[in-house]
């Protein structure tokens, strides 16, 4: 099975339980396969998704205001960002909104945004109504879920959702990526594309059609090249 690495960035105020969620997620089914990690701020876990394996590379960030400016370095290149807030602290929900805005402006294109309301187990001192959070999430087309790291509620589900939606986005973003890649090169765009595609371990044919579907602008070039390749297989596609 092919393994795909998904970089996931954790954002949110300090103390909302970002690392608890990850620790719970990683430790619940303790996987002997994972290499012993240095510490809890970077953890990995591999889960099956469809016919491939997704390896989550989870980047934790420091929530304090003074480290806020470093965040771009962390969410750069992320497939997904999990923004965590504490349902018992309204402030943390406000911070979340700031993060959403920042991601929109500076974050990677096609990043999957997931909103996790943690400390679900403390429902009786809740400050952020679930409905409000859910509506906000819908308005930005983000994944929404309330979790409890302590009781291991919905943690797994959170990452499953990320897994699924990044699958669909990945294809799109990748073909875009190769498109950008192609365009930036004056000579031999196709070769470069090929290199990129080979890297992603996808079969030529499958990606060929993907390219056609998502990047109509280079369709012609790819088609010509492809036909030539079929006529004379010694030309590497």
């Amino acid at each position: 099975m092919a393994i795909r690495e998904l970089k996931v960035c954790l954002l949110g105020d300090t103390g909302v339980g970002k690392s608890s969620i990850v620790c719970r997620f990683v430790q619940d089914h303790f996987d002997h396969n994972i290499s012993p990690t240095i510490g809890a701020s970077f953890l990995t876990k591999t889960v099956p998704c469809g016919n491939e394996l997704h390896k989550f590379l989870i980047w934790d960030t420091a929530g304090q205001e003074r480290f806020h400016s470093l965040a771009p370095m962390y969410y750069r290149g992320s497939a997904a960002a999990v923004i965590v807030y504490d349902i018992t602290k309204l402030d943390s929900f406000q911070t979340l909104k700031k993060w959403v805005k920042e991601l929109k402006e500076h974050g990677p294109e096609d990043i999957v945004v997931a909103i996790a309301g943690n400390k679900n187990d403390l429902g009786d001192i809740r400050e952020v109504p679930m409905k409000e959070a859910k509506e906000f999430a819908e308005s930005i087309a983000a994944i929404f879920i309330e979790t409890s790291a302590r009781n291991a509620v919905n943690v797994e589900e959170l990452f499953q959702k990320i897994s699924r939606s990044s699958s669909s986005i990945w294809l799109k973003s990748h073909s875009n990526y190769s498109f950008v890649y192609c365009k930036s090169l004056p000579s031999g765009p196709i070769i470069v594309t090929m290199q990129l595609l080979a890297k992603t371990k996808k079969k030529i044919l499958c990606l060929h059609s993907l390219l056609l579907a998502y990047s109509p602008n280079i369709t012609l070039a790819v088609q010509q090249k492809w036909q030539r390749h079929q006529r004379n297989p010694s030309i590497q596609f």
């Binding site: 510490g39 701020s41 003074r66 771009p72 370095m73 500076h106 010694s234």
Partner: protein, 996 residues
């Protein structure tokens, strides 16, 4: 059992089973014993381990032994399982096995015969395969083409190609016509992380050659063994193999491949020494086979006639038939007897006998051989011979192994040995202009670089032998004599060699000269013998001096190599960390070795590195190539290194310098993937998914190692001149005075001053490394230490909320402004694919911590980073991403290598600084200036390719042309030559258009 454990267990099991099998093989012990006695260095090494090894080292050894012991218990169980188990068993021992046999001969025979026998005997299937890979390793051939080629061939003939549909390498074999709606079968080759194996088989191999060699001898999952084309099998000399190899894919359509060449090769032996090996192929072998092999069809040597009896196992039981292949080592002996028909190889005893052996005696010998190999049951339990690899005796000294290949340099690239009478179709391209143009006889094996001088005694590996050999032929351990003076100085020793080669080619036409050949051979041989000890002596000194230069890292390599080489393949996942620890504890220990002992040890290191993994071998080969200025790759790398050394200040910033470097390395990696200069192609040694990391490692070695210090100085200079250094210094000093709480640490207990000092030391060590990856590994160790301290004090798990402030605090306390450039170095030069992982994460954190400290004063004022600092981060971000997504094609920077061709004095090459927009006209005037041409109007720039030479129009852009040529899928060799225009009226401007 999780897969990692499984892997580990497998490793152990392989090791253990090998150990068991091997120790049971008495002959093998006999083999090692003399070697051990001769190579006291081994003992030296063991002594060293005992005496100087730290506690950790011995602990490690004990653990290792312990684990072996415990795993042996599981061995039996495992053996039973193998038939069911899908997990491929690793059998990289195969190659060692082959060598083992070879070594054997060398050991026993070497002293007595002229070396000629050994030469003959060395031509194992593996040798043949390795040498002729351009013929059968046709990665770019399509399925239809493969079908077309193979259909004309007898069953069993094969190709290895890359299937476009599967995106994998496949073994295309012509199967028996009988079974045949599809006479050509394409069997996918599975490439696991470190090994190659055939789909459906449970045996895996260290590289492609070994895989194919194995299936030439044992059928395993195939219906019968593979068969090499007749021309390859019947080749008697390296020379002949070279000829075949030069044809490349064209071989299949050439006369070679057709019906037998009718050169009247006498049946009967011509010379005493040849009596056993010489036979014109099949007749004898077949007879022999009918007599002795008979029933065991799958042991049939590759030379056998096409029709093969049906496999003894029904196709259904394929998997369970897998263990069959374990008979292999026995077959190997058989095979040594008859392999490649003309090379009937006598047992060592035979060779030891008086040379007047008659052919009837030979027959007896063969009987003996066969009966020996038949003694064991036909299907012994799967003894995993992989272990042969480890305990395989260290390489026989150079004195022994080198002569073996005297006068038969391997793979001289066609261009380097221009042999006019040969057909050049399909030959491999790429050689520097001077060689193509220069009519002089090129040096024997220009590829063997000075590294060989140091490690020439690394034998086992036959390539190494061949290289070392060619090196031994040079009078001094100089880099290949590409220049005239050197060549003339090399004249006397290479004289006999050349004559020998000449004779070889004669012989391939008619064997009548074989007697004289033998005589001619001897001088070369004795030369090898006499030369090597001296070289051996020379070795330690040279090595240790290099060691001194390279400092810790090199030491790690040298001392670690034994363990590394031993463990790398099989124990890699689990033991690498431990090994490293041992290596580091060895190298960072406080002892200071006496120089002589150091030399000894490094010699040991060299010896042990013969057990190198394919990965190491590949890295080494690329590193060698990079130092060989006569190769295109080498000249690019060397020119670039020189350029950076001289012009480092031409970059606007340190960042720019690093990014150019990174770009260069990335481009070079891309080039190496396409070039044919690497021989054998890297795809055949390294599984597809490992190629990139291996190339990356090689690039670090080629480029960063020599430039490391220059870069460091340059980065520092940039910092100083921009004022950043001063700012950093002040802010660091300020931050150092702050309490952990001021930096955001909340709750966790910070490390004390002892721990800080320890971390400081680690950072200092980190600075000495040249490889960004190794640096990052040390950085990770620092982070681990910080975590340990935090957790020890509280017991809870800490996330980034606590870690990042603590890291900032630690960095401030360490007070090392130089750390900043180091982090920059890692950030920019680390393989982009590693930036997402753990290393990338902590590197980012370190960068962040440093950025915070750099702007500490402002941060104190505003409590947040200034917008300026934020912008820098954003810029950095976009640059980094931009760089990743678009490697430019103004290829290989702004250099252009131009050769000046003069009618009287041959070629002189110069690398010029030529920008992409520079026109040919400008290049011409630059050339005129550089080459001091008095009459530039009579000269012009030509683009010389394999068989064409085009004058470039004055308004073309050479750099563009180069880029276009480079970006073609099948890059051909091309050179820019500045030479006299024969007739001014014939100026035909040529526009090279991108035909993609």
């Amino acid at each position: 059992m999780s897969s990692k454990q499984e892997k580990m267990t497998n490793c152990f099991l392989n090791f253990c089973s090998g150990l068991v099998c091997w120790s049971a093989d008495l002959r093998a012990w006999l083999l090692v014993l003399p070697f051990l006695l001769k190579q006291s260095s081994w003992l030296c090494f063991l002594l060293f381990l005992l005496l100087f090894g730290t506690f950790k080292a011995s602990l490690f050894l004990f653990k290792l032994i312990d684990s072996f012991a415990s795993e042996i218990g599981e061995l039996k169980k495992e053996m039973v399982q193998t038939s069911v188990e899908k997990e491929p068993m690793k059998l990289p021992g195969l190659d060692r096995d082959v060598y083992l046999q070879v070594t054997h001969c060398g050991e026993l025979v070497g002293e007595r015969d002229s070396g000629y026998d050994s030469l003959r005997r060395r031509m194992s299937v593996l040798d043949r395969l390795t040498q002729t890979h351009p013929v059968w390793l046709l990665l770019s051939v399509s399925e239809e083409e493969a079908d077309r080629i193979l259909l004309k061939q007898p069953p069993g003939v094969f190709l290895v190609r890359k299937s476009a549909a599967l995106q994998r390498k496949v073994l295309s074999v012509h199967l028996d016509e009988d079974q045949a709606e599809t006479p050509i079968n394409h069997i996918p080759i599975r490439e696991s992380q470190y090994t190659f194996s055939l789909e459906g088989s449970s045996i895996s191999f260290a590289d492609l050659f070994r895989l194919v060699a194995f299936y030439c001898i044992s059928r395993d999952v195939l219906p019968f063994t593979l068969k090499l084309p007749e021309a390859i099998v019947s080749a008697k000399t390296q020379k002949e193999l070279e000829e075949v190899a030069q044809l490349g894919a064209g071989f299949w359509d050439s006369a070679f491949c057709g019906p037998r060449r009718s050169s009247p090769v006498p049946r009967r032996p011509l010379s005493r020494t040849l009596s056993l090996q010489r036979s014109n192929g099949n007749a004898e072998v077949q007879e022999w086979e009918q007599r002795f092999i008979g029933a065991q069809s799958d042991s049939a040597p590759p030379t056998l006639q096409p029709h093969t009896p049906p496999p003894p196992f029904p196709p259904g039981s394929r998997l369970s038939s897998a263990p069959l292949c374990f008979v292999f080592p026995l077959f190997l002996q058989t095979h040594r007897g008859c392999e490649g028909s003309p090379l009937l190889q006598p047992r060592p005893e035979t060779a030891a006998e008086p040379k007047a052996a008659t052919s009837s005696q030979a027959g007896e010998q063969q009987i003996k051989t066969k009966s020996e190999s038949q003694t064991p049951p036909p299907r012994p339990p799967p003894p995993r011979f992989m272990l042969h690899r480890r305990p395989a005796p260290p390489p026989p000294g150079p004195a022994r192994s080198m002569p073996v290949n005297v006068a038969s340099p391997k793979h001289p690239s066609p261009k380097r040995h221009p042999a006019p009478p040969r057909p050049s179709m399909g030959s491999k391209p790429s050689s520097p202009p001077k060689n193509t143009i220069s009519p002089k006889p090129p040096p024997p094996r220009p590829k063997s670089p000075d590294l060989e001088a140091r490690r020439c005694h690394i034998a086992l590996d036959d390539e190494t032998i061949a290289k070392a050999l060619s090196q031994a032929k040079l009078p001094s351990c100089q880099p290949p004599p590409t220049t005239e003076p050197l060549e003339s100085s090399a004249a006397s020793p290479s004289g006999p060699h050349k004559r020998g080669r000449q004779r070889f080619s004669d012989m391939s036409m008619s064997t009548s000269s074989s007697d004289s050949l033998e005589y001619l051979q001897s001088p070369g041989f004795s030369l090898g013998l006499s030369h090597n000890p001296a070289q051996d002596h020379q070795d330690p000194g040279e090595d240790s001096s290099e060691e001194d230069e390279d400092g810790e890292e090199e030491e790690e390599e040298d001392y670690g190599v034994g363990l590394e080489a031993d463990l790398e393949t099989r124990l890699r996942p689990s033991f690498k960390a431990r090994r490293r620890r041992v290596a580091v504890s060895l190298s960072s220990g406080s002892f200071d070795l006496p120089r002589s002992l150091k030399g000894r040890l490094s010699k040991m290191g060299g010896m042990l590195s013969s057990l190198m993994t394919p990965e190491k071998r590949a890295v080494k080969r690329i590193a060698e190539l990079s130092r060989d200025k006569s190769s295109y790759f080498g000249s690019l790398v060397q020119d670039y290194i020189n350029f950076v050394q001289e012009n480092r200040s031409c970059h606007p910033s340190g960042m720019d310098l690093l990014q150019t470097l990174r770009q260069f390395m990335t481009q070079m990696k891309a080039y190496l993937r396409q070039t044919s200069e690497l021989d054998p192609p890297i795809e055949s040694l390294i599984p597809e998914d490992q190629i990139d990391p291996v190339l990356e490692k090689a690039m670090h070695k080629c480029v960063l190692k020599p430039l490391h210090h220059v870069i460091e100085v340059a980065l520092h200079d940039f910092q100083v001149s921009s004022g950043a250094w001063r700012q950093l210094w002040e802010n660091l000093a300020l931050a150092k005075t702050k309490k952990p709480q001021d930096l955001g640490v909340d709750g966790a207990v910070p490390p004390d001053s002892v721990a800080i000092e320890k971390i400081r030391q680690k950072f200092l060590n980190m600075r000495k490394m040249y490889s960004p990856e190794k640096k990052v590994r040390l950085l990770l160790r620092v982070c681990k230490l910080i975590y340990t301290i935090m957790q020890d004090n509280s017991g809870r798990m800490y996330g980034a909320d606590d870690f990042l402030p603590m890291l900032t605090y630690v960095v401030a306390q360490c007070n090392m402004p130089r750390l900043d450039t180091d982090i920059q170095y890692m950030m920019e030069l680390l393989d982009p694919s590693l930036l997402q992982g753990e290393g990338g994460y902590y590197l980012t954190s370190a960068y962040g911590a440093m950025a915070l400290i750099k702007n500490f004063q402002e941060e104190q004022a505003a409590r947040v980073l200034s917008s300026e600092a934020r912008n820098t981060l954003h810029q950095w971000h976009s640059r980094r991403t931009a760089q990743r997504s678009m490697p430019t094609v103004d290829d290989f920077q702004n250099f252009l290598r131009v050769a000046l061709q003069e009618l009287d004095s041959g070629c002189t090459g110069k690398t010029l600084l030529v920008h992409p927009y520079t026109t040919t006209e400008e290049v011409c005037s630059l050339c005129a200036y550089k080459f001091k041409i008095p009459d530039p109007e009579n000269y012009a720039l030509f683009l010389v390719t394999q068989d064409t030479s085009q004058q470039l129009a004055l308004d073309t852009h050479p750099q563009r042309i180069k880029a276009e040529l480079h970006s073609r899928p099948l890059a051909h060799a091309f050179h820019f030559v500045y030479r006299r225009v024969p007739n001014l009226n014939l100026r035909v401007p040529v526009q090279i258009r991108n035909r993609l």
